[in-house]
Symmetry: C2
């Protein structure tokens, strides 16, 4: 199929673009879990004062971006470019947020790996001197995703045990050439990997091979090993997907069992219908920009590899019998 | 609303990344028009041997990419990154094409402005030395767009006179640091502009202000004027949108009446239901990568500004009463 052993491509950021500020918003269910203490704007109502789920999602994303910009002591006009996308058809959350922000905007679609794709591109822009400051952001909403990808909530459809729960939340960070913060050292662009999984309720199993491919590419390109990182963080594989990832890495001679966590696996204290944990573009966006960044900023973690993961299916592609193509992009961070 | 007069941001590519090859595919209706003589792969059947419109669209995109790569005498493994997106929900044409290509992939969504967004990012990557060669590509299909955004074709819905016809076609180019070709000199990232148009059949009127905003930003940032370009090419404004663009530019003191063409306005010899002309991500992708590039390669055009235009609506946003946010990204080219 390919002449590449692992198909990614790694960029190096010698000028140390830095995350100088973050902003996060999360729903009430999400704030019961590990991120509750770290989120900037915990919500008590997942409608966030709006009259539709989609508008609530857009408002969460806008709030996360504004929080990050304000947290850096900046105004919107000081941001040169916004990289954002989301799960909704035609990324309306990102596009409508960008309309209000009036910041030069490059729209992305990479499903639940949007956080690391946007960070990688923002860091690349800043490192090359194209932009002084760039914002990376994404989010998701359980209810808007559920009705777009699956069934109306009112139907009360039973969820199978391999399923995950789409996170209601958004995360954003400001990446700048100057200032104090966590450096983005490199980024590995992933390729699309499809192991033939067709079960749309089993995203963890579908995405794990893409994540493994990108991690293996990153280690090959950089000459680093898992032990060079305090923590390797995958996006939203959930409990089952994380186990598959560890097994796939082990088979290739890389043991990540002691320093891997998955944002989807840790975001919920699983008590109800979340089963394998969280998913959605907001999952890794919230966990990374709140919990993980606080550990990096405090110096508890010094070197982190963050690989968000995305399943690139649509209801049409699944309906036409296609399997689920997946992707993962990684960024390496250093305090 | 903003502290920016015009909200874009211009990047300069000092190392002259070059378009070393292009590839285009277009449907039978499209090949009756001006692009017919220039398209690499004119189709006699818009199903392209596939059993669904979406699969035909994906195959057109793949074929355009392969044609561009092969035309440069390269293999897929020599491409460091593919930037692509399309109009379908979750950009399945681009994602499934990327699955088959096995090239590191960064997914974009910018509606019908995807061609210039992908070119801008590919040129930025190559210019900065992050990639030796990058591919930019997009496409669309009349039938897949029609049933996703509007009505089932079988319904035979009447189209109003302000409407445009989604182009069945795809275009792609290889951008490299070395080799012969047309240089990409700079790129202007647009901001989202929304003048409050809610008529989803009148995309040209909705998009024209975004195009004007990006052109004005480009002239302000670069110090150039319309007369510095042999041709200023907008994406898919159609006849009505093009007239609005010219008027908006005139109001700001920039006369583009003698050297502006719009890909949507010129792609069809309007004889049937195309009304204002072509639209869709494939419109500017096909016209630029076939007709315009042949004029640049022959030296007939020496300096060109290409600004594809996109309407960032979805059926959900329109259904919830929102107006149509639009965007345009520009790239400046020099033979």
């Amino acid at each position: 199929m390919t002449s590449r052993q692992y198909g990614g491509h790694t960029l190096y950021f010698k000028n140390s673009p830095k995350i100088i500020s973050t902003g996060t918003v999360a729903g009430p269910k999400e704030c019961f879990g590990i991120v509750g203490r770290f989120v900037d704007r915990p919500l008590t109502d997942d409608m966030f004062g709006e009259d539709t789920f989609e508008k609530a999602e857009c408002k969460m994303l806008s709030t996360a971006i504004d929080t990050a910009i304000n947290g850096a002591g900046l105004s919107r006009s000081q941001i040169d470019v916004l990289f954002s996308g989301d799960l909704l058809n035609q990324i309306i959350s990102a596009s409508f947020a960008a309309r209000d922000f009036d910041i030069p905007f490059l729209g992305l679609y990479s499903a639940c790996s949007t956080m690391s794709e946007s960070m990688l591109l923002a860091a690349a822009m800043v490192n090359a001197g194209y932009a002084r400051r760039a914002v990376a952001a994404t989010g998701s909403h359980f209810a808007s995703a559920e009705r777009q990808y699956r069934y109306p909530l009112e139907q009360g459809t039973t969820r199978p045990p391999q399923s995950q729960w789409t996170v209601t939340g958004a995360g954003s960070c400001v990446i700048a050439g100057k200032g104090e913060g966590v450096s983005i050292v490199s980024g590995t662009i992933g390729r699309v990997v499809d192991f033939g999984v067709t079960d749309v309720n089993n995203m963890g199993a579908a995405m794990a091979p893409a994540c493994a491919d990108t991690l293996l590419c990153h280690f090959r390109d950089t000459g680093l090993s898992p032990d060079d990182y305090d923590m390797i963080i995958s996006g939203d594989l959930g409990a089952l997907g994380s186990r598959i990832l560890k097994d796939l890495m082990w088979e290739k001679g890389f043991d990540i069992s002691h320093n891997h966590v998955d944002c989807g696996e840790i975001i919920y204290d699983v008590i109800e219908d979340e089963f394998q944990g969280g998913s959605g573009a907001g999952c890794s966006a919230v966990v990374f920009n709140s919990y993980i960044m606080s550990k990096l900023n405090s110096g508890e973690f010094k070197k982190v590899l963050f690989a968000a993961t995305g399943a690139l299916l649509s209801t049409v592609s699944s309906g036409q019998g296609e399997s689920i193509p997946c992707i993962s992009h990684a960024v390496a961070l250093k305090k």
